[in-house]
C-alpha cells in the first residue's frame, strides 16, 4: 500500500530535488573544459528513479540534454539486463547508444546509482556534448558523411567506467587512444562523473532524511502534479486533428532525390486530456547519411519541448517542475524506417537540425489549435566544427550559430537566438580569439531581410569566422532551402546562407551540410542566419513600429512601403495620410 503524502511535505521534497539537480548542473558547467559545455551549456543533469522516470532536471542545462536523461537510464537498465548484468553500489555507467535512449553519440551520459538499505532506488545522471568522440573527422558535429552508426565514433552501451568503485583503467585508456583532444574530453567526462556523484550523495541523504516510503510517495505526488498540469492544459485545447508539414534541406547538393528536400510531417491529435503526435508522412530514413533522429532521445524531446513551451509557457505560467508526469499525457508514434524512427545501424550523429525541424513542425500543427500561443516559423540552426593541428596536437572548436523566432501574438519574433530544443550560448569573441587561431571578423544583425507581419519575424545574424592558420572545417545545418513559415497572413521569413570566401577573393556558396574540408589561413566563413516568419497581416502593423524598424536600419524605406504600406516622410516620421491611402489601395488590390 503506497503511503499517502501531505501536500506540504511534497512541496518541500520537490524543492529539495530541484536544488540537487541545479547543484549538479552548476558544478558540471563550471568545472568543464570544452566551450561546448561551459559556454554553450550543451549539457544536462537530472535525477531519475529506479524505473527510469525523471524526477527533476537542472534549470540551466539545455532541454535537448536533460530531457533524454531518463531514456539514457532506461537504456542502461535494459542493456545491462540483456547482458545478465546489474547495477551495484559504486558503479558509474557510461552510455551513448542512440538506439537505447541516448540522444546521439557525442552526448555521452554518466549515471551514478543511488542505493537505500541495499536496494537500487534512483540515479543521478549527467550528459554532455563532447568535443570529439573518435569519428572520421575532427569535432563531433558536421560528421555528415558517416555512412552508418559505426562510422560515427565510439559506441558506449552501458559501459561501467567504475565497477563497484574500482576504476576500469582499460576503458579510460581506450578513450584516450581513440579521441582527439582527449585531455579536454576526458576532463569533461571526469567533471560529469564528479557532478553525478554529488547528486547521488545528496539524493541519498534526502532519502535518509525523509525515509524511503515518504520519499517515494512525494515523488509520486510531484509527478502526478506535473501530469495534472499538462492534462489541464491539453483539455483547454479544442479536440481535433491538426496536421502540418515542413521540409528540410537534407543534402541539397545530392544528386539522389531521396536525400534532399525531405518532408517532416506531424499530426497532432487532441482528444480530451491526451495528445497523440503521429509523425507518419515524414520521409523514409536516409540509410547512409546521419540526419536520422533517434526516436527516443531526440524525436520525443523535440515533441515534448514544443508542446510544453506552447501549452505551459514559462513566461505565462511561471516555473513548472519538469518530470515524468509532464510526459504521461503525450503519446508519440513514428513508423519504423523513417527519419523519425530509424532502424539500426542507420547513422544519426547529425540529427540536430532535423530534430529542431520536428519541433517547428509540431508548433505549426498546434498553431491551428492555439493561434495566440505560438510563433510563426522558426529559423533552424547551424554548427561548424573548426579544427587544425598545432605542435601539441589537435585544436577543435565547435560553434553553434543562432536562428530566430517567428512573430508572436502581440510581439515580434526573438532576434538571433538559439531556437526550440536547443538553448546554448555563443562564445565570446574575446575568448575565441585569445585561445584559438580564429578571428571573428563580424557579428551583427542581418539587415533588411525579415518576415513581414503585424508582428514581424525575428532577425537573423551575420557572423564571420576567419582562419589565421591552415586548418579544416565541417558544417551541419539546415534551413538554406526553405524559409520559415508565415502565419495568419504574415510573410514567410528568409532562409539561412553560408558563404566560403577564399583569401584570393573568390566566393563560393555552401549547402547546409559540408563534410570535412580544408581551409587555408585567410579564408573566411560568412554565416547568415535565417529570419523568422511573419505573424499576421503586415498592413495591420502599427506604422510607428515600421518607422522604428526603418530608423533602426533593419527594414528599408522601400520595404516599409511595399510590404507594410507605410509611407515615411523625409524626417523619418510616418506620413499618416499617405499611409492610410496606400494601405487601402493595397488591400483593394488583394481583393481581385
Amino acid at each position: 500500500m503506497p503511503e499517502t503524502i501531505d501536500s506540504i511535505t511534497a512541496s518541500v521534497i520537490q524543492g529539495a530535488l530541484e536544488n540537487i539537480a541545479v547543484e549538479m548542473g552548476h558544478k558540471l558547467m563550471r568545472m568543464s573544459y570544452s566551450s561546448i559545455i561551459r559556454e554553450s551549456e550543451d549539457f544536462g543533469a537530472a535525477l531519475v528513479d529506479a524505473e527510469g522516470r525523471g524526477l527533476a532536471e537542472s534549470a540551466q542545462s539545455t532541454p535537448l540534454q536533460s530531457g533524454p536523461i531518463p531514456g539514457y537510464v532506461r537504456g542502461i537498465l535494459k542493456t545491462l539486463a540483456a547482458r545478465g548484468d546489474g547495477v551495484r553500489p559504486g558503479d558509474v555507467i557510461m552510455h551513448n547508444d542512440a538506439y537505447a535512449g541516448a540522444s546521439h553519440g557525442p552526448d555521452v551520459g554518466f549515471a551514478v546509482p543511488v542505493f537505500h538499505d541495499g536496494n537500487l532506488v534512483a540515479f543521478a545522471a549527467t550528459t554532455a556534448h563532447h568535443l570529439d568522440i573518435g569519428a572520421l573527422s575532427p569535432g563531433s558535429c558536421g560528421i555528415v558523411d558517416a555512412i552508418d552508426a559505426f562510422a560515427e565514433g565510439l559506441q558506449f552501451k552501458a559501459i561501467k567506467v567504475y565497477d563497484r568503485g574500482a576504476r576500469n583503467d582499460a576503458v579510460w585508456q581506450l578513450l584516450r587512444d581513440n579521441i582527439r583532444v582527449s585531455d579536454l574530453v576526458v576532463g569533461d567526462m571526469e567533471a560529469q562523473i564528479a557532478a553525478a556523484r554529488i547528486g547521488a550523495e545528496r539524493l541519498a541523504a534526502l532519502i535518509v532524511r525523509h525515509g524511503y516510503r515518504r520519499f517515494r510517495a512525494a515523488c509520486g505526488a510531484v509527478m502526478d502534479y506535473a501530469e495534472r498540469l499538462m492534462r489541464q492544459a491539453i483539455t483547454a485545447l479544442p479536440d481535433g486533428e491538426y496536421r502540418a508539414e515542413t521540409r528540410i534541406d537534407g543534402f541539397a547538393d545530392s544528386p539522389d532525390p531521396t536525400k534532399r528536400h525531405l518532408p517532416i510531417v506531424a499530426t497532432v491529435k487532441v482528444k480530451g486530456d491526451e495528445i497523440k503526435v503521429d509523425l507518419t508522412g515524414t520521409a523514409p530514413q536516409v540509410p547512409d547519411r546521419p540526419i536520422n533522429m533517434p526516436f527516443e532521445g531526440t524525436v520525443d524531446v523535440a515533441v515534448w519541448l514544443t508542446i510544453r513551451s506552447v501549452l505551459l509557457d514559462t513566461a505565462v505560467r511561471g516555473h513548472i517542475p519538469v518530470n515524468d508526469g509532464l510526459l504521461r499525457p503525450i503519446k508519440i508514434t513514428a513508423p519504423p524506417g523513417t527519419l523519425a524512427n530509424p532502424v539500426f545501424p542507420a547513422p544519426t550523429i547529425a540529427r540536430f537540425c532535423t530534430g529542431n525541424a520536428v519541433a517547428d513542425t509540431v508548433m505549426k500543427a498546434l498553431a491551428q489549435a492555439v493561434p495566440g500561443q505560438v510563433s510563426a516559423g522558426i529559423g533552424n540552426l547551424k554548427v561548424i566544427a573548426f579544427s587544425g593541428m598545432r605542435e601539441i596536437g589537435h585544436w577543435v572548436h565547435m560553434e553553434i550559430f543562432e536562428g530566430s523566432y517567428g512573430g508572436r501574438n502581440g510581439t515580434d519574433g526573438m532576434d538571433a537566438v538559439d531556437t526550440l530544443y536547443a538553448n546554448t550560448r555563443n562564445n565570446p569573441i574575446e575568448d575565441i580569439e585569445t585561445h584559438l587561431p580564429l578571428r571573428v571578423s563580424r557579428y551583427e544583425l542581418r539587415e533588411k531581410a525579415c518576415g513581414a507581419g503585424e508582428w514581424r519575424g525575428g532577425l537573423g545574424s551575420v557572423r564571420e569566422f576567419e582562419y589565421l592558420v591552415d586548418g579544416g572545417a565541417s558544417v551541419e545545418a539546415d534551413g538554406h532551402e526553405f524559409a520559415p513559415w508565415a502565419f495568419s497572413g504574415g510573410a514567410q521569413g528568409r532562409p539561412a546562407e553560408l558563404h566560403f570566401l577564399r583569401r584570393d577573393g573568390s566566393a563560393q556558396p555552401l549547402p547546409s551540410k559540408v563534410p570535412h574540408m580544408h581551409v587555408e589561413a585567410g579564408d573566411r566563413f560568412v554565416c547568415i542566419g535565417p529570419a523568422g516568419g511573419g505573424y499576421g497581416d503586415p498592413l495591420r502593423r502599427n506604422p510607428a513600429l515600421v518607422r522604428d524598424d526603418v530608423a533602426d536600419g533593419v527594414v528599408s524605406a522601400a520595404a516599409a512601403q511595399e510590404e507594410y504600406g507605410v509611407v515615411l516622410l523625409a524626417s523619418g516620421e510616418v506620413d499618416a495620410a499617405r499611409t492610410e491611402r496606400l494601405r487601402r489601395e493595397m488591400e483593394a488590390a488583394r481583393g481581385c
Binding site: S7, I8, S11, V12, G15, A16, N19, E23, K27, M29, R30, M31, S32, Y33, S35, R38, T62, P63, D183, G187, A191, A194, Y225, A226, R228, L229, Q232, R308, S309, L312, D313, T314, A315, V316, V322, V374, E402, R408, N409, T411, M414, D415, A416, V417, N423, N426, P428, E430, D431, E433, T434, R439, S441, R442, Y443, E444, L445, S461, D552, G553
Partner: protein
C-alpha cells in the same frame, strides 16, 4: 567622530546617528519621499539633530544607501543612451550570448532586445580594431568617424554615450581617444568607456555594463549632486559617501562618475549590518538572513568577510553586470509572500508577494490572499496589539478568513494550513541557504544564522533547525540593520585586469608590474579622497581556472611581490578551493590566471558597540501569556507561551521556548526546544536546549 547612516527604503527612510567617542547611537525614521528621496534624507537628519540637540555642523560623515540607479534600470527609465562601437559589431549588445532567458517559452521577453539600453539607431560604429594577445592595433581608429558619430548622437537627442570596443581590456587606447574626441565635440554629454567601467573580457557583458553606467549616469549624478548641495544648505559640513555593491562606500564624486558601482548596493548594507551585529557577540562565521516583506537576502561571511559574487553571476533587471558585488542571494520569500494552491493542486508559498500595499490580509488594507504574516498571526506568533510597537493593529479575523478558505481547499484545519505555510516558506528559505553553503562546500552547521529584517526573527529558529545550524543571533534593532550597516563600511575601490597567463609560462615581471600599477592607481584615488596613507590597505587576488575552463575561482594573492614559491602557493590554494567548490581537482591540468585584482581600502570611522543597557528581569519583561501553535514532531500543539518585551529582558538568563519576544521593529519566535539568551553584545542568542 560623528557619523550618520541613511538608508532609503520603499516606505521609510531610516537614520542612525553614531558618536564613536561617546558610543552614543541614536535612531530615527521618517517617511520616504519617492519623488525626490533627497528631501526625506535631509529632513530626517535635521529632525534627528533637532530632537537630540545635536549640532548639525559637528557631523563628520554622512553615509548613504540609494537605489536611484537600481530603480532606473528596473523601471527602464534611464536616459537616452548611445553606443559607439567597433565597425562590424553593432549588435553585440542585442544578440547577447544568443541564449533565450527561458528554455520552455514562446512568449518570453529577451530583456536586451525588448528593453534595449541603447536602441539600434543610437548604436553607431567606427573603424578600429585591436587584437590579442597584447592588444596590438589591427585597424587604426577612424577619428573622423568618431567625431561624426558624436555629432549624430547629439543631434538625435542622446544624453549619455558608452564607447565600447573589442579587446579594450587589453589596450584601452582607442576607447580613451574616442571618448576624448566625443568630449571635444560634445562637452556636456555623460561619457564612459567599457574598459574604464570594467576592464574584463567577455564583450557582451562588458559593453552592457558600460551601457548600464551611461543609462543611469545622468540621473544618479544629478541626485548625488543635489543631495550633497542640500546637505550643505541644511548646515551640514559632512562628507557624503554612497554605498556601493562591493560592500564599501565611495565618495559622491566617484559615484557620480561611475554610478554602475551602486546598482547592486541595495542589500549590501543590510548584510554588513548583520555581520557587525554578529561581531558584537564575537561570531565571525555568519549566514546573514535579512527577511522583509517581499524577499529574503542571504549573505555568507567567513571569518567576518563576505565573498564577492563571480562576475558571471551578477545581474540586474535581466542584464548582466560586471561590477564587484558582495555575494548576496535573494529569493522571493518574506512576510508578504502569498500562499496559494496552483493549477496542478500543489500548495505553494511565494514568490508573489502582497508587498506593503495592500499587504497581508491582517493589515486590513484590502489584502484578500493569505500570506506568511497571516499564518504567523493565526498561530499566535504575532501579537495583533503589538505589531510595529502597536502602531498598526492587525486584524486576526481577516487572516482567519483568507487562510481558512485555503485550509478548506486543502482539507486541513486552520492551524494546520497556517503551519503548512510556514513550513513551506521556511523550506524555501532553507533551500536557498543550502544552495549558498552546501553547494559551495561549506557546512552550514559551522555557521551562525544572523536573522533580521522585519520578518527574519520570526523564521530564524526554524530555518536554522532545518539546516542543523546551531545558533541564531537576533540583532538589537533587526528592522534598521541597513542604516547601521552603512556605519560599518570603509571606502573601497576595485581594480581589475585581464591577464590570460598560463602555468609554466607565467611572466612574473608582468604580473608584478601590473599589480603595482593597479595599486598605485588606487592609492592615487584614495589620496584624492583625502585618505591618509596610514589609513589605506590593499588586497590582491586573482581569478584562476584550469586552462580550458570557463569559470574562474577567486584566489587571494600575497601582498608582496610574487616569486616562484609564492606563485606555487597561490596555485595550491586554487586547487584546494576547487576541491571545496566542486569536490574534484584536475592535478595534471595547467592553471590559467585570467584576471588579477587589487582592492584599495580607505579605513573610516565606524559605529561603536552600543553601551550596555540597564539589566532587566524576566518578571518585568513578561507582557502576557497567550496560546501559540507549534509543530512537535508530527503533531501540531497549542502551548501557553510567554510574551516578553525585549528591552526589559535580563542579560545572560536563559529563557526556554516556547516564547515570543516583542520589540518595535520585529518579533522573535523561540520555538519549543530552543533556549533564548540576551547577551552583552545587545543580541538575542537562540540555541537548541542541551
Amino acid at each position: 567622530m560623528q557619523l550618520v547612516g541613511v538608508d532609503v527604503g520603499g516606505t521609510f527612510t531610516d537614520i542612525v546617528f553614531a558618536d564613536t567617542d561617546t558610543r552614543q547611537n541614536l535612531i530615527h525614521k521618517v517617511p520616504t519621499t519617492p519623488d525626490d528621496p533627497a528631501r526625506g534624507v535631509i529632513a530626517g537628519i535635521t529632525e534627528l539633530c533637532a530632537r537630540h540637540g545635536l549640532a548639525r555642523d559637528a557631523i563628520d560623515h554622512v553615509l548613504h544607501g540609494t537605489t536611484i540607479g537600481t530603480n532606473a534600470v528596473l523601471e527602464h527609465n534611464g536616459t537616452v543612451t548611445g553606443l559607439i562601437t567597433t565597425k562590424g559589431y553593432r549588435d553585440i549588445v542585442h544578440i547577447g550570448r544568443h541564449q533565450r532567458p527561458q528554455h520552455y517559452s514562446i512568449r518570453q521577453e529577451v530583456p536586451w532586445q525588448n528593453r534595449p539600453l541603447a536602441r539600434r539607431r543610437h548604436r553607431l560604429t567606427v573603424a578600429e580594431r585591436v587584437v590579442p594577445p597584447r592588444g596590438e592595433e589591427l585597424v587604426p581608429l577612424d577619428e573622423a568617424a568618431v567625431r561624426e558619430a558624436a555629432r549624430a548622437l547629439r543631434d538625435a537627442g542622446v544624453e549619455a554615450v558608452a564607447v565600447c570596443f573589442l579587446f579594450s581590456y587589453l589596450n584601452p587606447a582607442h576607447e580613451m581617444r574616442a571618448a576624448e574626441l566625443v568630449r571635444e565635440e560634445w562637452p556636456e554629454a555623460f561619457i564612459c568607456t567599457s574598459a574604464g567601467v570594467s576592464p574584463q573580457f567577455r564583450e557582451f557583458e562588458r559593453f552592457t555594463t558600460a551601457l548600464l553606467n551611461a543609462f543611469v549616469g545622468p540621473r544618479l549624478k544629478a541626485y548625488v549632486e543635489r543631495l550633497d548641495r542640500g546637505l550643505g544648505e541644511a548646515g551640514l559640513a559632512a562628507d557624503l559617501h554612497v554605498m556601493c555593491s562591493n560592500g564599501g562606500v565611495a565618495t559622491a564624486s566617484t559615484v557620480a562618475k561611475s554610478p554602475v558601482l551602486t546598482l547592486l548596493s541595495g542589500p549590501a548594507a543590510g548584510v554588513l549590518g548583520g555581520a557587525w551585529s554578529g561581531g558584537l557577540s564575537d561570531r565571525r562565521d555568519l549566514i546573514t538572513f535579512d527577511v522583509g516583506g517581499t524577499s529574503a537576502d542571504i549573505g555568507i561571511a567567513v571569518d567576518g568577510r563576505f565573498a564577492e559574487a563571480t562576475a558571471r553571476d551578477t545581474w540586474i533587471g535581466g542584464f548582466p553586470l560586471l561590477a564587484p558585488m558582495i555575494d548576496i542571494h535573494t529569493i522571493g520569500a518574506g512576510g508578504g509572500s502569498i500562499a496559494y494552491i496552483d493549477e496542478g493542486g500543489a500548495f505553494r508559498v511565494g514568490p508573489r508577494s502582497a508587498g506593503a500595499d495592500p499587504g497581508p490580509a491582517a493589515y486590513g488594507r484590502g489584502g484578500r490572499e493569505p500570506t506568511v504574516t497571516d499564518a504567523n498571526l493565526i498561530l499566535g506568533r504575532l501579537d495583533p496589539d503589538n505589531f510595529l510597537g502597536g502602531a498598526m493593529a492587525l486584524d486576526v479575523d481577516a487572516s482567519r478568513c483568507v487562510v481558512g478558505a485555503l485550509a478548506g481547499r486543502l482539507g486541513l484545519s486552520l492551524e494546520a494550513a497556517a503551519e503548512g505555510i510556514l513550513t513551506i516558506v521556511n523550506a524555501n528559505m532553507a533551500n536557498a541557504i543550502s544552495s549558498r553553503t552546501v553547494q559551495k562546500g561549506l557546512d552550514p552547521r559551522d555557521f551562525v544564522l544572523v536573522a533580521f529584517g522585519g520578518a527574519g526573527p520570526l523564521h530564524g529558529a526554524e530555518v536554522a533547525r532545518a539546516l542543523g545550524i546551531p545558533e541564531v543571533v537576533i540583532p538589537a534593532y533587526p528592522g534598521i540593520t541597513s542604516a547601521v550597516g552603512l556605519l560599518t563600511t570603509d571606502l573601497k575601490y576595485d581594480a581589475v585586469r585581464t591577464e590570460f597567463q598560463i602555468g609554466a609560462g607565467i611572466d612574473l615581471d608582468r604580473l608584478n608590474g601590473d599589480f603595482a600599477a593597479m595599486r598605485d592607481e588606487l592609492a592615487r584615488q584614495l589620496a584624492a579622497d583625502g585618505v591618509a596613507p596610514r589609513d589605506t590597505a590593499f588586497e590582491r587576488a586573482g581569478d584562476l581556472r584550469y586552462l580550458g575552463q570557463g569559470y574562474e575561482l577567486r584566489v587571494p594573492f600575497p601582498a608582496a611581490s610574487l616569486d616562484k614559491a609564492a606563485l606555487t602557493a597561490v596555485c595550491e590554494r586554487f586547487e584546494s578551493l576547487h576541491r571545496a567548490e566542486y569536490g574534484h581537482v584536475f592535478p595534471d591540468s595547467p592553471i590559467e590566471i585570467v584576471n588579477i585584482r587589487v582592492t584599495g581600502i580607505g579605513r573610516m570611522a565606524k559605529i561603536a558597540a552600543p553601551r550596555s543597557a540597564e539589566d532587566g528581569s524576566l518578571a518585568a519583561a513578561l507582557l502576557k501569556t497567550a496560546p501559540c501553535a507549534f509543530r512537535l514532531g508530527d503533531r501540531l500543539e497549542t502551548l501557553a507561551t510567554p510574551f516578553y518585551r525585549r528591552e526589559a529582558l535580563p542579560r545572560d538568563e536563559p529563557v526556554s521556548g516556547p516564547a515570543i519576544v516583542l520589540q518595535t521593529d520585529s518579533t522573535t519566535v523561540v520555538p519549543p526546544g530552543i533556549t533564548l539568551r540576551a547577551d552583552r553584545g545587545g543580541n538575542l542568542i537562540l540555541r537548541p536546549e542541551t
